[in-house]
């Protein structure tokens, strides 16, 4: 009843080395092909078992885990060492010795994603990309993006086959230039035009946002492939509008009422200084997409593909809103003293819009994820997601509590230490408290981030299916917290040089904790887009019309 171990499949002793495993795989595969050519083909199941063995014990990290599992299984007395080998030496296959394949055909097995990249390799690609981008004054960045995407796609394997990325650098460069142009128009209209004109420009440009989002989702999907079949995205511009515009309007309303309130405030908020940071922030947002993992693994962070800057920004915005609200409190305080008080009408409007925004942010995250998943397709197979809006609210509330908790702790720490030390004596004690509270604040922020990412990811993938096959995601909050905090610290300490390793570490974790649940061989059953569909969605069309936008 139990399956043969991968070692048995290859006819190797348990614990054989990686090189032996690979050699045995190749030999067995050659034999399989020979049989096929001589007209006595072996069943496909043999090939699948072979590929599974290669994926599992042909990779050092996986092999180590598999060996451990085997040892544990044997310790519990469940080892079935009597099952005959499938390939007992590549030349002597007895058809009778095979386990009945039909029994296993419907049995759902777990196909884990696998990431084979390493930090060192990616560092070499990254530094070369960086140098060429500098030398070409940024032009090479589109080619750099393709190299990077290809590295992350091709090193992501599912059931032994890699993903691939086909983005055309010229199309990406065009998209980047368009994005840059929009950015310049946006920031200069903010700087040079009075508020009403600027708002007007913003409102006029609003229909552009869903278009950009939809185009970039299409571009990304159509340029990703697995086993020679492309992904596709069927979401229409109209659906994109319906998904994005309510939130965008809500945000604009909030900003407007905040502006009306600020009009009568004493806070200096429009100095060249703040202008500079605005530019810096804008640039960060453009850059944010830099290393998105392959298409399926990219979905965890709803704000990361850059498709929905509104959604991603909403988290930052919440922090900003809090700061604004605090400013607002200060303003009220001073208003009570003597300054011209802000129009209460606007203040109420602002508070209401902030409330509305915070209330609907999880809902917005939910609907944008539904939008991107429910319109995603692999060849002819559609993705369907049954994500629940309640889960998004639960995650947002818990994740929001973490930074709040750490801020409260810091506040308590400060007030207690201020009382204990008293005025006049600072130095070492003060500095250590300062550092401690800094660490606490960062811990709070990272906890919130790690919780959101891991839980959203699990929710999204556990509730999504591809035709009749399900996914399973089991990221844990603690693991991700360690990874995120460690990556941040090491990147900071190495002045950014750790960055490639950090990216690889995260990509590996994501791959290790995502699996497709399908009967073995089911992944062979997908039909291509060209066979029955005459809408020729070829590479050329995608390249000619699509822009890859990272706003």
């Amino acid at each position: 009843m139990s399956m043969p171990t991968h070692y048995q499949t290859l006819g190797l002793p348990e614990g054989a080395g990686i090189d032996e495993v690979r050699a045995a795989c190749n030999k067995a595969l050659q034999h399989f092909i020979q049989q096929q050519r001589t007209g006595a083909p072996l069943p496909m199941e043999d090939f699948e078992a072979l590929q599974a063995a290669r994926a599992e014990i042909g990779d050092p990290r996986r092999k180590a885990r598999y060996d451990q599992e085997l040892a544990a299984r044997r310790a519990s007395g469940d080892g079935n060492r009597t099952t005959p080998a499938l390939f007992s030496g590549a030349t002597t296959i007895a058809p009778a010795a095979k386990p009945a394949p039909s029994q296993n055909a419907d049995e759902v097995s777990e196909h884990r994603f696998q990431f084979t990249g390493s930090g060192g390799e990616y560092f070499r690609i990254w530094i070369t990309n960086l140098l060429y981008t500098l030398l070409t004054l940024g032009m090479y960045s589109a080619w750099a993006k393709v190299r990077r995407e290809q590295y992350f796609h091709r090193n992501t394997l599912l059931d032994g086959s890699g993903f691939d990325y086909h983005g055309n650098p010229v199309a990406i460069l065009k998209g980047r230039m368009l994005a840059g142009l929009l950015l310049v128009i946006y920031s200069s209209s903010q700087r040079f035009f009075p508020w009403p004109v600027y708002t007007g420009v913003l409102l006029l440009a609003l229909p552009l946002l869903p278009w950009l989002v939809q185009r970039s989702l299409v571009f990304r999907a159509r340029n990703s492939s697995y086993r020679g079949l492309r992904f596709d995205f069927h979401g229409s511009y109209r659906t994109a509008c319906a998904t994005l515009l309510p939130y965008a309007l809500c945000t604009i309303f909030m900003l407007w009422s905040a502006h009306m309130v600020a009009e009568t405030e004493v806070e200096p908020e429009y100095t060249p200084q703040s202008l500079r940071f605005q530019i810096a922030e804008d640039m960060t947002q453009t850059n944010h997409q830099e290393t998105t993992p392959p298409i399926l693994l990219a979905q965890q962070e709803p704000w990361e593909t850059g498709a929905d800057d509104g959604a991603r920004k909403s988290v930052d915005e919440l922090a900003g809103i809090l700061a604004k609200a605090r400013q607002e409190e200060g303003a009220k305080e001073s208003a009570r003293k003597k300054l011209p008080s802000p129009d209460p009408k606007y203040a109420i409007m602002m508070l209401l819009s902030i409330l509305l925004l915070s209330l609907c942010t999880p809902w917005f995250l939910y609907s944008i994820n539904r939008f991107r998943l429910n319109h995603l397709a692999f060849a002819h197979a559609r993705f369907r997601s049954h994500i629940r809006v309640g889960a998004f609210y639960r995650i947002a509330i818990i994740a929001g509590l973490m930074p709040t908790l750490s801020m409260t702790l810091v506040a308590i720490l400060f007030s207690v230490s201020a009382a204990a030390i008293g005025a006049g004596r600072f130095s070492a004690v003060f500095i250590s408290i300062f550092l401690l509270s800094g660490a606490l604040l960062y811990l709070g922020i990272f906890s919130g981030q790690a919780y959101t990412q891991s839980q959203l990811n699990n929710e999204i993938w556990n509730e999504t299916e591809l035709e009749k096959y399900h996914f399973s995601s089991d990221q844990s909050f603690q693991d991700l917290l360690l990874i995120l905090a460690g990556n941040f610290l090491l990147t900071l300490l190495t002045l950014g040089l750790y960055w490639p390793w950090a990216k690889v570490r995260l990509a590996r974790y994501r791959a290790d904790h995502l699996a497709l649940l399908a009967p073995s061989g089911a992944l062979d059953e997908f039909a291509g887009q060209n066979s029955t569909d005459d809408r020729a969605i070829g590479e050329e069309i995608a390249d000619a019309f699509d822009f890859d936008i990272a706003l």
Binding site: L130, Y226, E281
Partner: protein
Amino acid sequence: MSSSSPCVAVYFDGQSSRRHPVELAAEAGVLQVAGLAEIRRVPLAAIRVSEPQGRAPRTLRFGDGAYCEVEQGEALLDLLDALGYRESGVVRLQGRWRWSVMALAMVVMLLAAGYQWGLPWGAKQIAPRIPVSTMAQLSDGVLETLDKHMLSPSSLSPGRQQDLQRGFQRLAESDPELAAYGARLQLLFRRAKRVRGASGIGPNAFALPGGQVVLLDELVALKDISDDEILAVLAHELGHVRQRHGMQQLIQSSVAAAVTAAYLGDVSIAVSGLAALALESAYSRDMEREADAYAAATLLRLNANPEDLASALEKLEAFYAGKEKSAKEEEPGKYTGWLDSHPDTRERVMRIRRQHGGK
């Protein structure tokens, strides 16, 4: 079959996700794919070989959407060799650690050189090309905001204002280049606003890119400062206007902020913001020196004494030193020399005296 060890691969036809185990061989520059219904032969020219990407399988793509996925290894390398395939230059470089270290060194050098020379040079080229009207628009907006939030009307007597205004006109008229700024080239009198009890900006004067020079009452009221010294400070500010430092600064700091944000931005916006601030204030040192030199030249042209600028700087320095000292006692660690935008005043004073001490 000419190649020694056969190379096994998985073939995909581009129509379905089905895997076909195949064997690859090279024969006179033509790839043979065996294991399908019939042997497929593809010349090297029609194959797109993917770059090696670590341990990721490599792909050999044929024009019709079909491709082979091959494990990276000796068998494949032998096959590609037999086909006559050469890796691209970038790939050969990427594979070597020595190159990576070199690339890293070059990146660091390029960034340092770009920051040290390229950026100021570029900003200097661009700043004069920005129309005065644009700078005026920018300045008007900034001034409006400053007036709203940080400055209040001057309380100097009209007579005192007129005296200073006359001196300013003399300075301005001595340089025909400044005529381009038109009516915006003016001296404005303001007082620093006290924000919630804290003293505002303190004794200061500053220039906006559009030509407005703002003089704060606090500077005029500084202990022992003479009108000549005030005019020397104004000449220094005119130097900033004339050399378009404001615009240059804005360009430089925007680019520096953009680059640091692009590099560190993913780590933390706060960190990159701080880094940009530190980079940016280092720039203004050179500009201060340039403005000093301009002021000294202007003063000489008008038969005034550059020493006035030196002594004005010393008085300002003395004021801020006293303030800093008391501030340090209140809040240690808040002031650091690096973030100080008027650094090494003593050095500037000495430079002015060294160059114009004879006078």
